[in-house]
Assembly symmetry: C2
Homo-oligomer: 129 residues x 2
DNA sequence: ATCTGAATTGACTTTTACGTAAATGCCGTG
DNA sequence: CACGGCATTTACGTAAAAGTCAATTCAGAT
């Protein structure tokens, strides 16, 4: 169900991160939850941003890189020069991701091989799989 | 061409890293170049290891995780318990990589969308692609 | 023999991404 | 209204992964 607001602890549980981390992301300008008094209220859009941040983290992007990527998800700018610049940046990030994909496939392939070696070795030792 | 030995600077140029970094990896036990006097001589196998390390880095793995992965590439152990344990570890890493792949595809998809928005916006502004 | 350029070691510094602790605010419940 | 339980702010701490710097050493060219 989609709700109006999430509390900070709800989100720490959902994403398995600490409150410190969420406040840190706010300090870094990655998210801007609204306030009721001093208490942070997170909207669905903030939650979605957090999901994107976690994805970026798992892929090994730094906070700065994640900030850049998040910029790209936002509304495109109105000025032609800015638009062309943004398209260029997006293309760079995509190339970056394609490199990661190659790295990933190669690593997976080598792990497949490693596992096969183990299974063969087990067979040699007379273990029935 | 495959050579007997590489010097440290050759490899720093090839992989675009510093000598400090290679020495750091040696301190961490990831590579073990042989010595002639005090000078390090890197064999093709060391070079290949460095390639694997760089791949791991690009994928956001920590030195410890990379160390684990490198262990998996080595000769499988001789004892059945160890073999089964290693197979389990390999499977865990693969699951990790599959998660990264999902993250990667999602991020790429969102970037595709972002670029499309930019292109549309350019069209609205009357720019002929 | 001297010079030069590359390599080495060791110590210290830096950056990133949070963790942790202390002191305090807010709020619903008994 | 006192209490327990989250939240918040401020400040300092830390581990990982190198960067930087200084002092030296060594091999090869002149």
């Amino acid at each position: 169900m989609i709700r109006e607001y999430y509390t900070i602890t709800e989100l720490t549980r959902e994403f398995d991160i600490s409150t410190r981390t969420l406040r840190f992301y706010e300090d870094e300008g990655l998210i801007q939850p609204v306030r009721r008094g001093r208490t942070r209220l997170f909207r669905p859009s903030d939650r979605h941003l957090i999901r994107q941040i976690m994805r970026g983290k798992r892929l090994g992007f730094s906070i700065n890189e994640i900030r850049e990527i998040i910029q790209m998800y936002k509304e495109p700018p109105g000025e032609i020069g800015q638009l062309n610049l943004m398209i260029k940046r997006i293309e760079e990030k995509r190339e970056d991701l394609r490199q990661k994909r190659r790295d990933l496939e190669e690593t997976l392939a080598e792990l497949d091989q490693a596992e096969e070696s183990c299974v063969e070795r087990l067979a040699e030792l007379g273990v029935t799989t």
